[in-house]
């Protein structure tokens, strides 16, 4: 089997497990969509109580939709190898001829698929419940921004997967720590450009979620952004490449370190 064949086979095998789970665990699917809709409703009513303009409800719906991806990047990608190690699968992955990047790519593709289904349900529910007007300046541009955001996000997730492999019990807490601070920095429920100083907002665009959501808001709601849309599109493309290349380098390096330190098979630390 050629290297490309192996890579594709590993990616498809790993993504199959995640996509099949989606259809076998319908209760999980309901819960994963109902809970974010509750959060959307809470923030939408909060803006309503503060008499904010209607497009701010749209910001909240968009934020909840993209937050679903961020949570999948954290828990479905970042913590995935850590959990695989706990369940004894990591050593099997490493022993197999499948390249680890293929395994991570499969996790990313599977995660993207299942999360896109969930995110679509959340977005539709939010739009219908709160009567959000959806009139983007360009549907193809919106699609391009969305795909580039996912690419950069899951590249970042692959980096996290390698890094979290170094951690023990603190991994769960540190992944938890990357939720609220990221929601704040990326402006999941408010326009970053309107609140943060320019330098802080510009630095925050290095997180793909910030640049992606800011660009999508400009296209969907015509709100002013941190940078011009096309600058943010270019930034997302660059971040995608940088994160994917760095993930590949980190994975090789940290897997080597884990082998040397005997951490590939250590559980319940």
């Amino acid at each position: 089997m050629s290297a490309i064949h192996l890579f594709v086979a590993a990616a498809l095998a790993r993504s199959y497990a995640r996509v099949a789970w989606l259809f076998r665990s319908r209760v999980w699917m309901v819960q994963e969509t109902v809970l974010p809709v509750l959060a959307v409703s809470a923030f939408a009513y909060s803006y309503k109580a503060m008499a904010a303009p209607p497009e701010y409800t749209g910001l909240v719906v968009l934020g909840a939709t993209m937050t679903t991806f961020w949570l999948n990047v954290l828990w479905g990608m970042g913590a995935a190898l850590y959990w695989e190690r706990d369940s004894g699968n990591l050593e099997l992955f490493v022993m197999s001829p499948a390249p680890m990047m293929g395994v991570l790519t499969g996790m990313a593709l599977g995660g993207m698929t299942t999360t896109t289904v969930r995110a679509t349900v959340i977005a539709v529910a939010g739009v219908l419940l709160f009567d959000v007007a959806i009139q983007p300046t360009s549907w193809p541009l919106l699609g391009l921004i969305f795909l580039l955001t996912l690419s950069a996000l899951y590249g970042l997730g692959m980096m996290f997967a390698s890094v979290f492999l170094r951690w023990g019990r603190e991994a769960w807490h540190l992944v938890n720590l990357l939720q609220e601070p990221i929601y704040l920095l990326t402006g999941t429920n408010f326009p970053v450009a309107a609140i943060f100083p320019t330098a802080v907002a510009a630095a925050a665009t290095l997180i793909p979620l910030t640049a992606g959501m800011d660009a999508m808001r400009q296209v969907l709601f015509r709100t002013p952004g941190i940078f011009d849309v096309w600058v943010e599109v270019a930034l997302l493309a660059v971040l995608s490449v940088v994160f994917l290349v760095t993930a590949r380098w980190l994975l090789a390096r940290l897997e080597r370190r884990a082998r040397e330190e005997g951490k590939l098979t250590v559980r319940w630390q």
């Binding site: 665990s25 209760v27 999980w28 819960q31 994963e32 109902v34 809970l35 509750l38 959060a39 409703s41 809470a42 923030f43 009513y45 909060s46 803006y47 309503k48 109580a49 503060m50 008499a51 904010a52 303009p53 701010y56 706990d86 369940s87 023990g168 019990r169 603190e170 807490h173 938890n176 720590l177 939720q179 609220e180 601070p181 929601y183 704040l184 402006g187 999941t188 429920n189 408010f190 326009p191 309107a194 609140i195 319940w268």
Partner: protein, 295 residues
């Protein structure tokens, strides 16, 4: 009785160790501050974003939203920590550490063990809430002004906090009891309940904003009375200059709020005790205590 107290003490110690000994004290302190504070700051940014949309300046009383959001969210941190924490204790002890059946087999009283684990979460949640409010007072003049003008009513704060801790513990035990028999979906039940409480108990908006028929659902939750009581104890009653912040409970006195909270908490405690016992027996009969679902 002495044995139960010993179980309580040791379980609380174990719970505290599990929550804290994964990091150095400094890293843990940073973790305790950053998570709740950034959650509150996100709401503050929403407030400033809404305020910036008023062309001629915000209406009178609008500034009162900031202390409302901040204090409510800080108090809600306790809800999530305790209710979610007890369910998480069941799941981790069963799935991750595989110790649940050994705890059941030990001489320790099973329910008291989880009550002790809940105490550790109460301590963690309380410290987090206090730090959160302290940071809010440090950063925002509106917070200092509101809490300074009204002054903290320490007596009512002690009353509402005391009853509230029991209420949250009882709610946590109900969810933890359900988790004994839910192999895979227990954590989502806890998150779901937490989400419902967040929406319907007036955490980030006064429940008067909700449609009237939904307000009744919110008024049936003990957490609604608890949050209203905590806000009053910390900030005083809702100001007349911000009528939207004065919800259906605005006309209630502190004593009426405390009585309603006490009554609902008592009912919840009775139910929690029975529900836990029923779930414990069921889980034992069906072999769920040692089941490992790979969650």
């Amino acid at each position: 009785m002495r044995e139960q107290l010993r179980t309580l003490r040791l379980a609380a110690w174990l719970g505290w160790q599990l929550e804290t000994n994964w990091a150095s004290p400094w890293l843990f302190a940073i973790y305790m501050v950053i998570k709740p504070v950034t959650g509150s700051l996100m709401l503050v940014c929403m407030f400033y974003a809404a305020r910036a949309t008023f062309a001629g300046g915000p209406p009178e009383g609008f500034q009162q939203f900031l202390p409302y959001l901040y204090v409510s969210n800080a108090c809600f941190g306790l809800v999530g920590t305790v209710t979610f924490g007890l369910s998480y204790a069941v799941v981790t002890d069963r799935e991750r550490y595989r110790m649940l059946k050994y705890v059941f087999l030990s001489p320790a009283h099973f329910q008291t063990y989880f009550a002790g684990r809940g105490l550790a979460r109460v301590a963690e949640g309380t410290v987090g809430a206090v730090l959160n409010i302290a940071v809010g007072l440090l950063l925002f003049a509106d917070m200092r002004q509101t809490m300074g003008d009204a002054g903290i009513d320490w007596l009512w704060l002690a009353v509402f906090l005391g009853i509230g801790v029991v209420m949250l513990w009882a709610a946590g035990m109900v969810l933890a009891g359900a988790c004994l028999n839910l192999s895979r979906n227990g954590m989502f039940l806890s998150e779901g309940i937490s989400g419902v409480v967040y929406l319907l108990s007036g955490v980030v908006f006064p429940i008067g904003v909700l449609p009237p028929w939904v307000q009744w659902v919110g008024l049936s939750l003990p957490t609604t009375y608890w949050l209203e009581g905590m806000r009053r104890a910390l900030m005083g009653p809702g100001p007349a200059s911000a009528p939207v912040l004065r919800g259906p409970l605005a006309a209630w006195s502190n004593a009426e709020l405390a009585t309603m909270l006490l009554a609902t908490t008592a009912a919840l405690v009775v139910f929690a005790l029975w529900f836990w016992r029923w779930n414990e027996r069921r889980a034992w009969r069906l072999g769920k205590l040692e089941e490992n679902a790979g969650v």
